[in-house]
Symmetry: C2
Subunit: 308 residues, 2 copies
């Protein structure tokens, strides 16, 4: 099975605690490693969890609050010091380039590899990345500063053709590839054999949506509809709904309501306020609205399966 | 006894490892808390070791290589988020202000307290800080970019006067303070009683010198002569002397040679290259030149005693 797995590197909100680091996640889809946000100490977390950071070629930064990007300059430096030459793609607010450039200027540093910048346009469904396996689209989040979420969608996998059908219908080799991709097959007498009769193990196309940071905003729903895994921030418990509103963050129930309305398969909450030592009450609040909810926990890898 | 203790928060060089963080140290002299350098994740280390960072009012940044300052913007933000109003003094290269300001601008952030900047002049013995207990002076280090070391010197402590001498020599109350500070006492007949006959527990004035990052440079010696504790970087073992020279760093034996020539009481080495998993060989090399050497180890607090 092609990889589709998310590892949490940091799940705290603005102030880290001794147990929780600021936001960062590593998403592996088909051995493409996407780093999503890069809070302080992300490079240390990657090392701690034995994740090879030179395999990361694409970094997505949602917005310019420190807890989402302060680990980036250190990570870029370590990639350089360890001899990286592969170019690195950075999907980020335009202003981040200035922040990086000024630090390289004053430290009299350069990088041994090229950074290819892709600045956010803050347009829903804007295609940020695409290759033969994955497509990544933007979601405009609703936060105190311009903020971009991301939807990562796996492209359809080829199905396995049933060996007996090749013989039965005398399918020529040159047609097999099309059938694996979903084509029907036309017999010599003009009869159409539907694709579903020719293949097995038809895979589900999986998707992951990242929504942090954002206040409760139903306009996100069409863009995250039916995703397999939704990460939605839940900085506060319900009793702090006013505080959530003031700071453009969400509560547990708000995250779960978005998950429910968007009919996602599973919700992961995170970006917890430092005030919460025990996360079980946050999970309980979210589950009361949307049962298939899990907690973001540092070091834990969540695999999204592709069984239909 | 007045506090004089150094806690290591990070002892790695440029690339952190899963076990060692970039440079940061917390020095407590008489309950003044001085943060020396602030590598990435310093705020996380402070929390981990249960050191209250709101007590830090003075931060000294040696130079603008990322492993010495990348944790600063995050620490400043957390101080703000936790409600700090006390002004914070920052002793640093002038360019750091621009790096901080641009990040606050792009994150649309402000701080609830004032930063008072004191820019390095890169002059040996330049007085950076002084109050009734402590004086801090600059040392010009020799690194690839402008770099400043620091010497922290405790001011003389008042001695305890021997109770029997007050009676014996009929010392008036108004003279006691001067005697405790070191004055002799003149009897009515003109005879001088030396201070050493009047007081006990005469304390040694303690000092700590921080030399990181620097290549081997004997011109530092006069400014760190006889300090009680010298932290001198030892990025490399002796076999990498060429590499040390190229990168303006020091080897273990070079650090120990400086300690020996400066006749310091104790040497602490640190700023270890990530290549060294086991630090015992580094200690052995340094001790071969200067026996009273210890390793910088994260979380370990070294107390400097004041026994003469």
């Amino acid at each position: 099975m092609q990889s589709f797995e998310l590892t949490i590197l940091g799940c705290s909100s603005a102030t880290p605690t001794s147990k929780r680091n600021p936001t960062a996640q590593l998403l592996n889809i088909a051995e493409r490693f996407f780093l999503i946000d890069c809070g302080e100490a992300t490079q240390i977390q990657l090392r701690k969890f034995k994740l090879k950071f030179q395999r990361i070629n694409h970094i997505f930064i949602s917005h310019l609050h420190g807890d989402h990007y302060l680990g980036l300059v250190g990570l870029l430096a370590s990639m350089h010091l360890l001899g990286r030459t592969t170019e690195l793609h950075l999907y980020c607010p335009e202003e981040l380039k200035e922040i990086i450039d000024i630090q390289h200027k004053h430290s009299q540093s350069y990088l041994s590899y090229k950074i290819v910048y892709h600045f956010h346009k803050y347009i829903n469904e804007d295609i940020l990345f695409e290759d033969d396996k994955v497509i990544v689209k933007a979601i405009v989040l609703n936060h105190r500063v311009p903020c971009c979420g991301f939807v990562f969608i796996e492209k359809p996998l080829m199905a396995n053709i049933l060996p007996e059908t090749i013989k039965k219908y005398d399918i020529p080799t040159e047609k097999i590839f099309d059938i694996k991709k979903g084509a029907d097959f036309k017999l010599a007498d003009g009869k159409i054999i539907p694709n579903s009769d020719l293949v097995l193990n038809k895979h589900k196309t999986r998707s992951y949506a990242y929504c942090s940071d954002t206040c409760y905003d139903e306009t996100l729903i069409p863009f995250i509809k039916n995703v397999d895994l939704l990460y939605h921030e839940a900085t506060f418990m319900n009793e702090k709904e006013e505080r959530a509103k003031e700071t453009f963050h969400s509560t547990t129930s708000q995250a779960a309501t978005i998950a429910k309305k968007a009919e996602v398969r599973q919700l992961m909450i995170g970006h917890y306020s430092a005030r919460y030592k025990d996360l079980k009450p946050l999970l309980a609040e979210a589950k009361a609205v949307f049962d298939n909810t899990i907690l973001a926990i540092e070091g834990v890898c969540t695999r999204v399966d592709n069984v239909i």
